[in-house]
């Protein structure tokens, strides 16, 4: 299990990296943390002609807060996100989610940019981007593009990035002070890819959702910002309302079959997550008890 031979270029600047990507197009692969790319190369599932290593572009690393916007450089590692006080204060959902990404040794190398560009439908971070309304910033030969998260992920391992573009950062609007969140996933073992997961952000007023964003992952070919959330906003949530939202959610899902679960199981677990999320966020244990009986 040794990687095929490839050429290697250590990019010295974003411009340098873009030049290489322009020259090589699909024959090149960007190496960021390498935690998905290197195993795929070791297994010879991918055999790029050129690796463009962006690891030394320190300008792409770090979290900053300006004018109500969190900017996270593409090379910011999962471990950095976990430790960042800005993330903890202004995007706590992301912190909770990152704790579920693989294991400490992986989180020390894996980067947010790499994870988003890889676009694994079972990955936590794309769902968080949808839920948090992120803007993904890409640079290419034609300059910079700002892509809304819900337009960025287009399929299994597929994004709106062209082979000539480099994901350089993401921007997250700072969450309102009254906002609250929920993150949970069902994985067979600690750190495994989720069978189904939910990253939710909500505003609650007088026991009702004023806003509710539900980012499901591992429920289809990409993460899903559930439209059925709207059925729970500005209403008194009862078991009947929740049940209606769950059945609307069912219509939105298009889960895949894999080693761990059938589509039917994913649909079921997504509904369990919805129930648990709503029950927890509204502090209404009665909703959960009702659903599991």
């Amino acid at each position: 299990m040794k990687a095929s031979a490839f050429g290697y270029a250590r990019a010295t600047s974003v411009a340098d990296a873009l030049e290489l990507l322009t020259a090589y197009g699909e024959r090149a692969k960007v190496l960021s943390g390498g935690q998905s790319l290197v195993p795929a190369m070791n297994l010879r599932l991918v055999a790029p002609e050129l690796i463009v290593d962006i690891g030394e572009l320190t300008e792409l690393r770090g979290v900053s807060l300006k004018g109500g916007v969190l900017t996270i450089g593409a090379l910011t590692r999962h471990a950095d996100l976990l430790k960042s006080p800005e993330i903890a204060a202004h995007a706590p959902l992301l912190k909770d989610a990152v704790a579920h990404v693989a294991h400490p040794a992986i989180r020390n190398r894996g980067t947010i940019g790499g994870s988003l560009a890889h676009a694994d439908p079972a990955s936590e971070l794309p769902a968080c981007m949808l839920t948090l309304g992120a803007i993904i910033i890409a640079r290419g030969p034609g300059g910079e593009r700002r892509i809304a998260a819900n337009e960025f992920f287009v399929g299994i391992y597929e994004t709106a990035l062209t082979p000539q573009e480099l994901l350089v950062a993401v921007e997250l609007p700072v969450i309102p002070k009254s906002s609250t969140h929920f993150f949970q996933e069902f994985a067979r073992r600690h750190g495994d890819y989720a069978i189904v997961g939910l990253a939710a952000q909500a505003s609650i007023k007088d026991g009702r959702f004023a806003d509710l964003r539900l980012g499901f992952f591992a429920v289809g070919d990409r993460s899903l910002l559930a439209k059925s959330a709207s059925k729970l906003v500005d209403v008194a949530v009862t078991s009947a309302v929740l049940s209606e939202a769950a059945s609307a959610l069912d219509d939105e899902l298009d889960p895949l079959e894999d080693q761990q679960a059938t589509p039917a199981m994913r649909r079921h677990l997504a509904k369990v997550l919805l129930t648990r999320c709503v029950s927890l966020l509204l502090a209404r244990p009665d909703l959960r008890a009702g659903a599991s009986a």
């Binding site: 040794k2 095929s4 031979a5 073992r189 600690h190 750190g191 890819y193």
Partner: protein, 797 residues
């Protein structure tokens, strides 16, 4: 927690002052491993060493139409590209059968496939190059033309007339069948108040040793000698087989086994690719290294379990178990594995079902069929988890039917502790077991009644916990009855040589091997105890056919019981020899002298007379000063094999406490208990850790592990991300207790402990899951118990 039973043979050489027996002492070889200074086969490099990569079949069953190697041979670093036909000039094929497994048949298997491949992963060509990466590059340029053949994959239809026969010369796909009928089964079922039936389904799984299989074969053409560095559990077996098929004498083959990164039965077999590596070294006249990568491991390391077993139990309303009946079916891949065969697991299932219980009414059928999947063979606790899950599952189903507590039904049916010697329903002889003592101890350790109360209270709050109990018996210390009587050159005896060096330290060579169980430690503990020498002065050498006595190695829970007894007997002889010389030097008699703390002392007052170092100096350098006629022999060798009983059965009981989430189908293991009886305990810590490690392998089987094949015979989860092994985050703490019933077959009294944990863990978990599921009125008799399986049973999906 240990309870002692009276051992008639109390005062032995082991009860001496400063004895290490029964004491927890750290293993002597740990620092090397902890500092990264071990030497595993994958670490070994030799001058001129080349690396082999095997091109493996992508098809489960196909005819090889042609192999085109010319492009590959031109690539950088490539030394040779060798097909199966070319290699067959160096090595002969084999057939994995044993004569005592009557009717067992298999077809000739080659080191590299010739003409036809029979499972996805079978090697079709070897690429030898200067590096593994270069060999992999070249392997991509070997072009093989296949004509796909029908793949036989479902064991349930393998014997149907419509299913193609994999090996035409065998006539059908039936490898082995055994039928057993004891007592009056029909009458017993007729007299039962309740009869319960179920089909138990076991996932196919594999050992996943962390270090993959690895071999460095070094044919020295000038010496006409082959040195094989291999992480094997049985070096002398490898020596015999390699010599046999390469046309060499055993004296021309040396097998060296340094550190081994996990074995569990995976590394007790001889694999085709290992044979090919030996042959390639001979063909190419240079050292060749093969290290399986993880994908190859999943596709070629033996798989195990994968049984479908129908079971039936009859019970009286008072709890009396009247009869057991089983019909077991297993698919073993296209060949019976060499040289231990692939019929042993099914044979063990027949042997072991019903084993802990009194009833003598037992009928069984086991069928072993061929299929186009990877080979199956012996993996830790061979057959035991299946027999235990079927037996204990049936017992719980019977208890449920008559509304009896699971502990109570076992109390009423387990063989009484004073009923021995006796025989099992399958005719196996038990010397002395302790089912009731172990069960009583388990109930106390887990505080069974309190746990039941807690379970009831939580159930009222919609929290679903379950308790599962599983009694078991375990085959250990096998005699020649296992393999030797069937014609296999697999030694059941082991030998130990001990000698005093010139500074009074002890060197001990043993034929058992070390894969982390503690073979080195237990040997040093026994030798040190008998000789009166401190452990730091005992060095143990193992894993080298040039430098150890002849013997079986470490497998089937035999290292301590057989190798340990050989060490004990050898040390006793050496002790006598030492005292003879000392008596001559000291003008005393041997009976007046003892050895304590590395010195010869007076028996009467313990006063030191002469240090062993001084005695050794005199013996080796100044023999001229010894009295005339004295010829010191500061070396002794003894061998041992049990003769009275074919196997030393052990017994025990396990319990699982878990929580099941009916919404998600997820199971959380909260706690696990084991009480076992392995006879004399040499090192309590090592025994406990064998039990714990074994339990976790059983828990893996219960919840996670399964080789998933599609209908075309493709293994679809041959990587560690998709094949789920138990990791620390999901495993519970495991409490271990002991009852001690030494075997009287040996002075040491030790029986095996390596497989007990694996034998009963899955049964305990399955019973606990079914206990948790009681309010939902559903029963699951399939492992692994995945959320998918549980949600399906609950009707949630």
């Amino acid at each position: 927690m240990t309870s002692e039973r009276a051992n008639p043979q109390t005062l032995s050489a082991l009860d001496r002052p400063n004895s290490y027996i029964g004491k927890t002492v750290p293993r002597p070889n740990l620092d090397r491993l902890m500092q990264g200074r071990g030497l595993y086969v994958s670490d070994i490099e030799l001058p001129r060493m080349a690396h082999v990569v095997f091109l493996r079949s992508p098809h489960a069953h196909a005819r090889i139409v042609g192999i085109e190697t010319s492009a590959a041979k031109q690539m950088t670093g490539v030394i040779a590209v060798v097909s199966g036909r070319e290699l067959s000039t160096v090595i002969t094929p084999w057939v994995g059968v044993l004569s005592h497994l009557k009717g067992l048949k298999s077809a000739p298997q080659s080191a590299i496939a010739v003409d036809r491949v029979c499972w996805q992963g079978e090697a079709v060509a070897a690429v030898v190059a200067a590096s593994r990466a270069q060999a992999e590059d070249a392997a991509e340029h070997v072009l093989v033309e296949y004509e796909e053949l029908h793949a036989v994959t479902d064991m349930r239809t393998a014997l149907d007339p419509a299913t193609p026969v994999i090996h035409a010369s065998l006539g059908d796909n039936l490898a082995f069948e055994r039928i057993h009928d004891a007592g009056a089964v029909d009458q017993a079922f007729a007299e039962s108040d309740e009869v319960v039936e179920a089909e138990f389904v076991f996932g196919r799984h594999t050992g996943v040793t962390l270090e993959p299989r690895a071999v460095v074969a070094d044919w020295n053409a000038a010496e006409a000698r082959l040195t094989i560095y291999q992480g094997t559990q049985a070096p002398h077996m490898v020596q015999n087989i390699a010599a046999l098929h390469l046309g060499l004498k055993e004296s021309q083959v040396r097998v060296v086994c340094k550190d081994v990164g996990g074995s569990f039965g995976i590394k007790v077999h001889i694999y085709a690719d290992e044979m090919a590596t030996y042959a390639l070294s001979k063909l190419l006249r240079r050292p060749v290294k093969f290290v399986a990568d993880r994908v190859e491991s999943f596709n070629t390391d033996i798989h195990a379990r994968d049984h479908r077993c129908k079971g039936k139990i009859g019970v009286k309303r008072d709890g009396t178990i009247m009869a057991f009946e089983i019909d077991d079916l297993t698919g073993i891949g296209p060949y019976s594995m060499y040289p231990r065969t692939s019929a042993i697991e099914a044979n063990q299932v027949v042997n072991l079902v019903g084993g802990p219980y009194v009833t003598g009414n037992y009928r069984a059928r086991a069928r072993v069929v061929f299929q186009n999947k990877n080979v199956m063979c012996q993996y830790r606790a061979v057959g035991h988890p299946i027999a235990c899950s079927v037996t204990e599952g049936l017992v719980d189903l019977a208890a449920m039917k008559i509304a009896m507590d699971p502990v109570e039904i076992r109390r009423r049916n387990l063989i009484a502790d004073d009923a021995y010697p006796c025989a099992s329903p399958s005719g196996l002889r038990f010397e002395q077991l302790s089912h009731h003592a172990t069960l009583a101890k388990l109930v106390q350790m887990m505080d069974y009644d309190a746990l039941r109360a807690e379970q009831a209270a939580l159930r009222a709050r919609n929290i679903h916990r379950g308790i599962g109990i599983a009694s078991f018996i375990e085959v250990t210390n096998p005699s020649a009855a296992f393999y030797g009587v069937g014609g296999a050159k697999i030694s059941s005896q082991d030998g130990v040589a001990v000698r005093v060096d010139a500074q009074g330290s002890v060197i001990c060579q043993t034929s058992i091997t070390e894969q982390g169980q503690g073979s080195e430690s237990l040997t040093a503990q026994i030798v040190g105890s008998v000789l009166g020498v401190s452990m730091d002065r005992v060095r143990v050498i193992l894993g080298d056919t040039d430098n150890t006595p002849y013997g079986g190695g470490t497998w089937a829970s035999r290292g301590a019981g057989i190798g340990g007894e050989a060490a004990l007997q050898a040390a006793k002889v050496l002790r006598k020899n030492i005292l003879d010389v000392a008596a001559a030097v000291l003008q005393s008699t041997p009976s007046e002298l003892d050895i304590v703390n590395n010195a010869v002392v007076n028996v009467v007052d313990g006063a030191p007379r002469i240090d062993l170092s001084e005695l050794a100096r005199i013996v080796y350098f100044r023999p001229d000063t010894l009295p005339p006629g004295i010829q010191p022999e500061l070396m002794a060798t003894r061998h041992f094999v049990p003769r009275e009983y074919p196997f030393a059965f052990t017994n025990g009981v396990q319990a699982s406490w878990l929580e099941l989430d009916p919404d998600t189908g997820f199971v959380k293991l909260l706690k696990h208990w084991v009480v076992e009886d392995c006879g004399t305990i040499i090192n309590p810590q090592l025994v406990d850790e064998q039990i714990r490690g074994g339990v976790v392998q059983g828990l893996g089987a219960a919840l996670f592990e399964k080789c998933v094949y599609d209908e075309r015979g493709q293994l679809t989860n041959a990587n560690m991300a998709d094949y789920l092994v138990p990791m620390s985050g999901e495993m519970p703490d495991i409490d271990v207790g002991h009852v001690v019933t030494p075997t009287l077959e040996s002075e040491l009294g030790a029986k095996g402990a390596g497989e007990a944990g694996t034998a009963g863990a899955a049964a305990a978990v399955t019973n606990a899951v079914n206990d948790a599921l009681r309010p939902f009125e559903t029963i699951i008799t399939e492992i692994p118990l995945t959320p998918q399986v549980i949600l399906t049973a609950l009707g949630r999906i």
